[in-house]
């Protein structure tokens, strides 16, 4: 129970992200099957079966996620509020979860049945899945304009599902298309559907933004606003790829159109999942419109972000609080801890001591130097064809050792907390995971850059790991209040996440696009530039 409580906030975001993803895949597949596959004039029985299989898989995963979320939330509620099972069962989230699970099982049953007629009956459980999701959305708990907000949220989620959830089915369809012309017809039809979906989700989003963000100042002055802006940027990236697709279908070289469409589609799916995870990350935040006090101002952001020379002197371990848990308790007792609102498992946020801030800045700045050097070497290797510069990924090994030693100074080997004990702390575990990730990056990308790996999937490890790291950076939990320090820290982490996602998917496209596609050359320049920019952002990271 204590362990579940400790990771409850993070688990909620993950369950929500997974639920939104699988819900989009199930609904997107159903609409793709009905409005795209069934409308083209070809015999598409095999493709229909493939779509049904993937819809069923998405529905199974959706049911599993819904059950997990309801169980975790029920256990926390029952234990923390000493509630009977009967009382918990009457809660709104249990009802919403039950509707979601029953709808998912209906989809599973309907897609498993053999049939010769259409699939329009699948739209009913699809609508029920959206209803279940909206029942646990912000709109249900609003005091004002509840009915229109519920309607706009439903439209927003349904349109997102049709567009982003339909993309994997487009890829499946292109792969299985018996002829190039058939694949072209499918792509053209899906493009029309995607355009309508984008228009609906953008219009609904505009109206929701008036209610939840409220003002431009809230966009940069609150965590919620900043995360919404991030989602918009990633959405823009997706639309840019969509526009490249659109241009490709109309003017691209006929020989490579389908191969290029598939590759762009893969990148769009990856960025699409990142957008959905970003939306899930907002689950841990109250809307900006509700937090009008203590917002970060433009002047404060300017003061924090304006360039200064990096910090190359670190405080000693002895200057840091000996035990962060004891420090937390002391801060709580002295009243300096924020205790107004938090999710179960959190215990308020203790402000960092000046020594801790200096320690963190030193870490970021050294990491920035290493990443900047790697980015410049990668750029030199790409542009100037300088062979020795291709060993740049080895610098990741140094970065990994540095992260392992310094990211959690209270733990082994620098601090008193033992190695195994630290693995129970989700934050430390996440840092350890990142250190291992960096080693994997070094090994795989060095082998790729120096030609030790034959063309194949191993080359994709680096772009995938970088893109996943960017997505993870966007899904960490946030404070519920408008704590200025946390908002400012978030404002410096968001560019890193966006650059990482761009780096990962541009490298992916460079590796996967056919040689005839001109975009490939632009992508080959874009990802080293992203690495350079990540280094620059890290070098200017500040906590004071």
């Amino acid at each position: 129970m204590a362990r579940l409580l400790q990771v409850f906030g993070f688990l909620s975001v993950l369950f929500r992200g997974a639920t939104l993803t699988f819900q989009s895949l199930a609904i997107g597949g159903i609409v793709f099957l009905i409005l795209v596959v069934r409308r083209v004039n070809e015999n598409s029985a095999a493709l229909q079966q493939a779509c049904l299989r993937w819809i069923r898989r998405a529905a199974i995963a959706l049911a599993a996620m819904q059950i997990s979320y309801v169980l975790a939330n029920s256990i926390i509620l029952r234990q923390s509020a000493d509630m009977s099972l009967g009382e918990v069962a009457g809660a709104n989230f249990v009802l919403a979860g039950a509707i979601g699970v029953v709808s998912a099982f209906t989809v599973i049953a309907l897609t498993a049945a053999r049939r010769s007629t259409g699939y329009t009956d699948l739209l009913l459980p699809a609508a029920a899945i959206v209803t279940s999701s909206v029942m646990t959305s912000h709109s249900m708990a609003r005091l004002e304009y509840r009915a229109p907000l519920v309607a706009f949220t439903a439209l927003h989620q349904a349109a997102t599902a049709v567009w982003l959830g339909g993309l994997p089915y487009l890829l499946i369809a292109i792969r299985r298309a018996p002829a190039a012309d058939f694949a072209r017809q499918l792509s053209a039809r899906f493009s029309q559907l995607a355009l309508v979906s984008v228009a609906v989700l953008a219009s609904a989003g505009l109206l929701l933004s008036f209610a939840y963000v409220g003002s431009f100042k809230a966009v940069y002055g609150t965590s919620y606003g900043a995360m919404v802006a991030t989602k918009v940027l990633l959405f823009g990236l997706l639309l840019f790829l969509g526009a490249l697709n659109f241009q490709l279908v109309r003017r691209g070289p006929a020989s490579s159109i389908l191969a290029s469409l598939k590759r762009f589609g893969e990148a769009e799916i990856g960025i699409g999942i990142t957008v959905i995870l970003t939306a899930a990350s907002l689950t841990s935040l109250p809307p900006a419109a509700d937090l009008t006090d203590d917002r970060v101002t433009g002047q404060e952001i300017f003061a924090r972000m304006s360039p200064r020379s990096p910090r190359f002197a670190s405080p000693s371990v002895q200057e840091l609080p000996e035990d962060i848990y004891a420090a937390q308790k002391k801060a709580f007792e002295s009243g300096s801890l924020s205790t107004e609102s938090y999710v179960p498992g959190q215990s308020g946020t203790r402000p960092n001591t000046p020594a801790e801030q200096a320690w963190s800045e030193y870490n970021h700045h050294w990491a920035g130097i290493v990443v900047l050097a790697m980015g410049l070497l990668a750029l030199v290797a790409q542009v100037g064809q300088v062979s020795w510069a291709r060993h740049w990924p080895l610098a990741f090994l140094g970065l990994s050792a540095f992260l392992f030693l310094r990211s959690d100074p209270e733990t082994w080997p620098l601090g008193p907390v033992g190695f195994w004990a630290t693995l129970a702390d989700p934050e430390v575990l996440l840092h350890r995971f990142f250190a291992l990730l960096v080693i994997a990056l070094a090994v795989f990308e060095w082998r790729v850059q120096t030609g030790r790996v034959a063309p194949g999937r191993a080359r994709l490890v680096f772009p995938v790991l970088v893109a996943v790291s960017g997505a993870l950076l966007l899904t960490h939990s946030h404070s519920l209040g408008n704590l200025k320090e946390e908002v400012l820290a978030e404002l410096s982490h968001i560019p890193l996440a966006i650059l990482a996602v761009t780096l990962g998917w541009s490298r992916w496209l460079e590796l996967r696009l056919p040689a005839e596609n001109q975009t490939r050359n632009a992508m080959a320049r874009l990802w080293p530039l992203c690495l350079v920019l990540i280094g620059v952002v890290l070098l200017n990271y500040r906590e004071m």
């Binding site: 909620s12 939330n73 509620l77 923390s80 509020a81 000493d82 509630m83 009382e87 918990v88 809660a91 709104n92 989230f93 919403a96 029942m135 646990t136 959305s137 912000h138 709109s139 249900m140 708990a141 609003r142 005091l143 949220t153 927003h156 355009l195 984008v198 953008a202 219009s203 989003g205 505009l206 929701l208 933004s209 919620y224 919404v228 989602k231 918009v232 959405f235 823009g236 639309l239 840019f240 969509g242 526009a243 659109f246 241009q247 109309r250 939306a279 907002l282 689950t283 841990s284 109250p286 809307p287 509700d290 205790t339 107004e340 609102s341 938090y342 999710v343 179960p344 519920l480 209040g481």
Partner: protein, 125 residues
Amino acid sequence: MQPSRRNPCALILFAAVAAFFIVAPAVAHAVLLESNPALKSAVSGPDVPIKLRFNVRIDALRSRLTLIRPDGSAQPLEISKQTPADTLSAEATGLTTGAYRLRWQVLASDGHITRGEIPFTVSPS
């Protein structure tokens, strides 16, 4: 603006304008907007009316208020049923002077659990 099928720039522009306004479907967490007693305030006893107002609708049946007395003992408070959808009310009676903490845990109408604590002191009336 209608995106032209011939000009991808128009599509990008349309998308960029649309993207600027899009917002996430957020899931709420209840946040305490105001309270009586206020955070770290001093109130007169022995009877103290409790009122907590949140930013969203609250499931009062599945929410809890607990008073931590100066000696560390916990006393559950009965939540009044006649309150607005965003408010929890109760009555703490017979409070002697000293430092108290009001612990709250709420279930928002969208199924999210939030908790918090309000330290306050009771001074002689």
